[in-house]
């Protein structure tokens, strides 16, 4: 339970997150739970909420900050499979997998899209650290994937060339 809360600050409901941020406790929700500031029962009942603020960000740094409150280090243990040239920007297949341990979330960012964060996945214990999906790309861009492993963020990126626009995204 506390793992679910601590892993991603965006999972805490938006209102509570603002308060925690105001107190300078953004990344410390787990501590808040431990210290009894948040009744544990309530935290457990609450399904993770859609990270609205993170999806509203227009660059990578802000999106990552809103989603995780942490920065990224590159890792060769994160592997990203995307086409070099997208057959159509409206449907770009993206697959991510990693050999890192204790992965709690995987997110995909497309910095050249109007909004940077495309998708963010929560992986409870027992779920394998790999996911495939299809995303829209407005134009040629890096695709950045972020893996949260044991509380740290690791990333990898690859460029995808887009000739037919996916009409925004």
């Amino acid at each position: 339970m506390s793992r679910a809360v601590s892993s991603v600050s965006g999972e805490v409901s938006a209102g509570r997150r603002l308060v925690l941020h105001a107190l300078g406790l953004g990344g410390m929700a787990a501590l808040a739970v431990a210290a009894g500031l948040v009744p544990p029962a309530r935290a457990a009942e609450e399904a993770p909420a859609w990270p609205k603020n993170a999806f509203a960000q227009k660059d990578q740094a802000h999106a990552l900050d809103a989603l995780y409150g942490k920065t990224l280090e590159a890792s060769d243990k994160v592997s990203l499979d995307v086409p070099e040239i997208a057959e159509n920007g409206a449907v770009v297949p993206v697959s991510v997998t990693t050999s890192l341990p204790n992965v709690t979330s995987i997110s995909v960012l497309i910095p050249e899209n109007p909004y940077t964060l495309a998708a963010s996945y929560r992986l409870p214990e027992g779920t394998e650290p790999s996911v495939s999906c299809r995303l829209k790309m407005a134009k040629t861009s890096d695709v950045v994937v972020v893996v949260e492993s044991a509380g740290k963020l690791y990333g990898a990126k690859k460029q995808v060339k887009v000739t037919l626009g996916g009409c925004g995204g």
Binding site: A86, E87, V91, V162, L164
Partner: protein
């Protein structure tokens, strides 16, 4: 965009010079020889794309471009036409108000017959495509015809094609002057230049097949109808052969015809006959 089309055009012109002797000539003298045309047509593509198996031509751009093929294989793990396919089965099986159904209008109750369409109807003296047959069936049973190109028509096509997968195109041209004239008319439509850009279908899909035009890889004309109907990402929906003909006419800025116009039906007849032997693979997905 015109610039890039221009360069394709130059490439096409160069290829045309190289291959004129191999190509079925547009002005084929007085004798109409569909079987001979078909041999020359298929031989041209076999030579242009060595290593591509005949059936693989059904997969259009994916048959001739590795990078695109990989994306397609990923998309085919759960193809976006699945919803249309289910709709189509439901629509196909639903009885009309008079209690009859599509199955009553078609040979073999409509299952596994896609590869024989279009056919030349000796009674009415015209080419009948699957879509036209579907609407005639509806009208015979007191139902309104469906709009062509999209929606329910594409869904029914998808289901009917799926029951015919793996069956090679088997288009017949009866020895009848009207059938031969329809064939010749379709062939002419395919090789005739038109539109502001003065392109023929063949400029792009024969001479420049496999080349990149903007984001697209141009599909070879051989087998090009075997995957229809298609879910096209660019459309974000399903489309029939008519929808594709209309959009390709627009590519060259020439006024498209009405779906199921006689000229389009003759064109479909010609193209399908050229593809005899290529197995039906529809419904398909495309960029």
């Amino acid at each position: 965009m015109i610039g890039r089309i221009g360069s394709i055009y130059r490439a096409a012109a160069a290829a045309a010079l190289l291959f004129t002797s191999l190509l079925p000539a547009a002005s084929a003298g007085p004798r109409i020889d569909p079987a001979g045309d078909q041999r020359a047509f298929q031989a041209y593509f076999e030579r242009a794309f060595p290593g591509v198996a005949l059936d693989d031509f059904a997969n259009g751009p994916y048959a001739v471009n590795k990078e695109m093929r990989k994306q397609w294989e990923e998309i085919m793990q759960f193809p976006p036409y699945d919803f249309a396919l289910d709709d189509g089965k439901r629509l196909f099986e639903a009885p009309f108000k008079n209690g009859k159904s599509y199955a009553d209008c078609f040979p073999d109750r409509g299952i596994g017959i896609r590869q024989s369409y279009p056919y030349f109807d000796l009674r009415s003296g015209e080419v009948v495509t699957l879509d036209l047959a579907i609407n005639r069936c509806r009208e015979q049973n007191g139902e309104k015809p469906l709009p062509y190109e999209v929606g329910d028509m594409a869904a029914i096509d998808a289901y009917m094609a799926s029951t015919s997968r793996g069956k090679p195109f088997d288009i017949r041209i009866p020895d009848d002057p009207r059938a031969l004239a329809a064939y010749e008319n379709g062939k002419k439509f395919f090789y005739e230049r038109r539109g502001q850009l003065n392109f023929s279908c063949a400029s792009c899909h024969v001479q420049a097949a496999g080349r990149r035009m903007r984001g697209d890889i141009l599909a070879p004309a051989l087998g090009m109808l075997a995957s229809f109907p298609i879910y096209r990402s660019d459309w974000g929906s399903m489309g029939t052969v008519d929808r594709r003909f209309v959009s390709c006419n627009e590519q060259v800025r020439s006024l498209p015809l009405k779906p199921e116009d006689e000229a389009y039906r003759d064109l479909e007849y010609f193209l399908s006959y050229m593809s005899n032997g290529v197995a039906i693979a529809g419904p398909g997905t495309r960029p």
